[in-house]
Symmetry: none
DNA sequence: ATAAATCTTTATAAAATCTTTACAACTTTA
DNA sequence: TAAAGTTGTAAAGATTTTATAAAGATTTAT
């Protein structure tokens, strides 16, 4: 079970049953509505990740249900309908349906179309932000803040700082840092490291003379806490 | 003309002609490719907003073209195919196609499905106007205003500006910007970017010498705030 | 077909960053 | 504590990156 919930809206019990079995055996969580009224209520009370909507409902046209849902519901809606007229299809798509399948449809195709619309609706990017006391590093935005103010770091400074932060608490050797940032042919250039560590401390530390985050491990390397 | 460009990939001249006329009369800008090789090259050199891809190409299967495109192209691809087998449909959808239409298709339905996938790829249904201080960007109308006055941006300038605005606060690398706007074969042409950033600043910033919105992250890329 | 607009390329000045140097300050060890 | 080895810092010089204008090429509109 992957916890993706799909709401089936259809008045025919055989179709609901068939869809439910198909979807459940493909690890979706299913809920059902048998008419327009119930569809609106169920969608509102417990919004699913996707809605499969029949157009031929007993109490109200599926087109109306679609319009009402789209006033607030922005996740995918796939129309399943016995009507194959171009007018129905165009109307439904322009009212915000993400796809339109004519009954009888093939199960594999339905599942593929479900995967397709879920894929394109779930393109949200997660934003991993690291927090260390007054410091925060937004890796996807490539931004470092101290007390909520942006600190301007050069490309190399940022790379070095990230490497230290990602290995919080660990001692990173001169050798390792030089190899990671400047490449294997620079492992002897310890002076680079000293210059950049000093610059970083000047920007990041409250008192660069008594660093509280970037600590020196004499003879070995540096450690971030 | 709304400047939304669609690439038609089909080896049959009648179909290309029909599609071109249909799309152009609906205000789309059209380019054409007659085989797999040309499709890849044209998409890479000048990425369109949407690709209509025939599966039956003379030099290589459309399935392969789809896979190659999806390695970097993230905008909508709609398959147009004479094959209606479930296997073809499922394969194409799982390879990243956004929709699959069986030939012969109805023109109105094609246009509705194009509108549908473009709508969900732009995801700005809720708030199609972005505000940043004195600037506002109407994504659906493709209009940028500064202090309520329309700023005239060329197509490329607008695409670049949109990309920056949609990722407000994030640093976008040269590589990413070049790949998104000019295609993967232009990732080394940083000078393009500098020229267009300069032009954008001249139009958008109060003082182009001291930009307040489009910031430079030296050695990395640009950031919009 | 011509004019206008836009894109691409080139050249160069300015700015930012990196590298190197010199020396001061600190740590470790005997 | 003194000597030796390490580390920190500032600043000058070298290099890379960026900004900008403008000329040439291409595309688009009339």
């Amino acid at each position: 079970m992957n916890n993706i919930e799909i709401l089936i809206v259809d008045d025919e019990v055989q179709i609901r049953k068939m869809l439910t079995i198909t979807l459940q055996s493909n690890d979706y969580k299913v809920s059902e509505a048998i008419n327009a009224k119930e569809a609106i209520i169920k969608a509102a009370n417990h919004p699913p990740e996707l809605i499969l909507l029949d157009l031929g409902l007993p109490d109200e046209s599926g087109h109306i249900v679609l319009q009402k849902l789209r006033e607030w519901y922005s996740k995918p809606i796939i129309i399943l309908s016995a009507h194959s007229s171009e007018e129905d299809i165009v109307t439904a798509l322009d009212n915000g349906a993400n796809d339109y399948l004519v009954k009888p449809f093939r199960t594999g195709e339905l599942l593929a179309r479900i995967r397709s619309v879920l894929r394109s609706s779930n393109q949200e990017d997660e934003n991993p932000i690291l927090y260390f006391g007054e410091l925060q590093i937004d890796l996807s935005a490539r931004i470092v803040k101290k007390n909520d103010e942006i600190i301007k770091l050069t490309s190399t400074e940022y790379t070095l700082f990230c490497l230290l932060c990602k290995n919080e608490g660990k001692v990173l050797t001169h050798h390792y840092l030089l190899k990671s940032i400047w490449g294997p042919s620079y492992v002897t250039q310890s002076q680079y490291l000293r210059v950049f560590i000093a610059q970083l401390r000047k920007k990041v530390e409250d008192d660069p003379n008594r660093p509280s985050h970037i600590l020196t491990e004499s003879g070995v390397g540096y450690r971030f806490v």
